[in-house]
Amino acid sequence: MAKPYLSLESVGKSFSRGAASTEVLKEIDLKVERGEFISIIGHSGCGKSTLLNIVAGLTDATTGVVLLEDKEVNDPGPDRAVVFQNHSLLPWLTVYENVSLAVDKVSRKTRSKAERHAWTMHNLDLVQMAHAKDKRPSEISGGMKQRVGIARALAMEPKVLLLDEPFGALDALTRAHLQDSVMQIHATLGNTVMMITHDVDEAVLLSDRIVMMTNGPSARIGEILDVPLARPRKRLELVSDAAYIRCRQAVLKFLYERHRFVEAA
């Protein structure tokens, strides 16, 4: 059997402040196949972002390793592009410049100037933002910013696309639009995607597998759910689909029965 594309091997993370140390993640093992869409779901504060940042290389794991194509991940890099929750576009650059910054940096050696321009525009087209290429982030809506953030990440041609609650700050309608866009892009490009979410429907709709995390401290993977739904998926048809409903229930059960979030009083 082929080795997994992306593999997390007993990854653990402790934050220490002075003498005190809190273990946030403990022995996370996860294998992701090429082209797979994985969601990570769990209650707020359980360590989802920490896990994603470890895969991105932005945070060092305390124990364990992350392997991408059998190479250990130590630093951040464009092969693991991140879409951050609050878009993190550079406000002094236009939409176009935000994407071309990434394109120019990543493919300066491999593409000519004209090709880089074409590639920037191609990625803006993918997220339907080419029309606003000369606008600044402050002039476009939250959903549009997130689209540009996705375009910037896609433009790096990452091996793994990392999304940290990409639609968390958006209203329901905009969120649905973006989910559709992400599904379409995933269908076209076949990227390997790891997405953090706290939205059960979003997880079931988009993912091939859903990784459910237990509550922290020392959060671990509680359960991994296969989502056996054929693609392309249509949200309206799925509402009454038996498999969809079963998946949804399984995730809800996990989150609200077995691992209820006990709010600190």
Partner: protein, 299 residues
């Protein structure tokens, strides 16, 4: 001060557009012109008329207060009378110190520009160092916090001793006056760069030079310009005082010289010019800041 100014500006831009749309069905050119020009005039009036009225009122009060016999200060009418030559011809040059106000202001501005430019370069560099490196901050920040409270003029004797010349001493005083707000604001700006922007740079693997140009400077620009704006104001405050002590051509010594010759009217004219130039310097830096930072500050 600057907020209402911005508001009126947007009104100026928007109203003519609205008027154009309204004027379309009935293309009477005179009416269209009027509806386009009137709001502009009105906006101009709202900005210009109030300060003019205030100025006229103040001049009137001053005239009334100082017109009595035995008054120690001249009224405005007498100032104009006494210093007419100074007011109408700022460019005359009879050699030595007997020059028009333009030349004095020009000499002062040259000193300020030199000292300020050095302060800007060194201030931004030091501020970047302190903002980037925790150790540089721990080492330098306490020292800077003490040094920045030393009044500018207190440096003058020391710098005269060091440079043995008035000119570099004055420039040094300007430098040491302007540099602290630039250092401190730059450091705060760099420290406040959102972690998200740093993460973007790390994912893209920007090298230090690219990071500085593409992320650090633009992200910190609003703070840096706040420092630069405070710095230029302080420089202009300090130059007048420093020049009173070092002598030579310059607006500070001109004022001191006028006092020694009891030319009170000349002093008042000079002060007016000092105020106007200081205001223009402030506006100039604000303008550059606006052009450079574009929409950065408000997003």
């Amino acid at each position: 001060m600057s907020l209402p100014a911005i508001e009126t500006e947007t009104k100026v831009h928007r109203l003519p557009g609205a008027a154009k749309v309204l004027a379309l069905p009935a293309p009477s050119s005179a009416a269209a012109l009027q509806s386009r020009v009137m709001p502009l005039l009105r906006a101009l009036a709202t900005r210009i008329v109030p300060p003019l009225v205030t100025l006229a009122a103040l001049l009137l009060i001053w005239e009334l207060l100082c017109s009595r016999t035995g008054s120690s200060l001249p009224p405005p009418s007498q100032v104009i009378n006494d210093s007419w030559e100074l007011i109408i011809d700022p460019f005359y040059d009879r050699g030595g110190l007997d020059k028009g106000l333009f030349w004095h202001l020009f000499a002062s501005l040259k000193r300020v520009m030199l000292g300020y430019a050095i302060a800007a370069v060194i201030g931004v560099a030091l501020g970047t160092l302190i903002g980037q490196s925790t150790w540089a901050m721990r080492g330098l920040d306490p020292i800077f916090q003490v040094l920045r409270t030393v009044p500018p003029l207190a440096w003058l004797p020391l710098s005269l001793a060091a440079f043995r010349d008035g000119e570099p001493s004055a420039i040094f005083v300007i430098f040491v006056t302007a540099v602290w707000p630039i250092v401190i604001n730059t450091a705060v700006g760099i420290r406040n760069i959102p972690q998200d922007y740093r993460n973007v740079a790390r994912v893209l693997r920007l090298n230090p030079a690219e990071y500085a140009i593409k992320i650090m400077i633009p992200a910190a620009a609003p703070y840096i310009f706040t420092g630069l704006k405070i710095g230029i104001g302080l420089s202009w405050l300090a130059i007048v005082a420093a020049e009173m002590l070092i002598g030579g051509v310059g607006i500070g010594f001109f004022i001191w010289d006028a006092w020694n010759s009891s030319l009170i009217s000349d002093i008042i004219v000079a002060l007016t010019y000092v105020g106007i130039v200081g205001f223009l310097l402030d506006r100039l830096v604000a303008l550059v800041a606006h052009a450079v930072t574009r929409g950065t500050a408000n997003s």
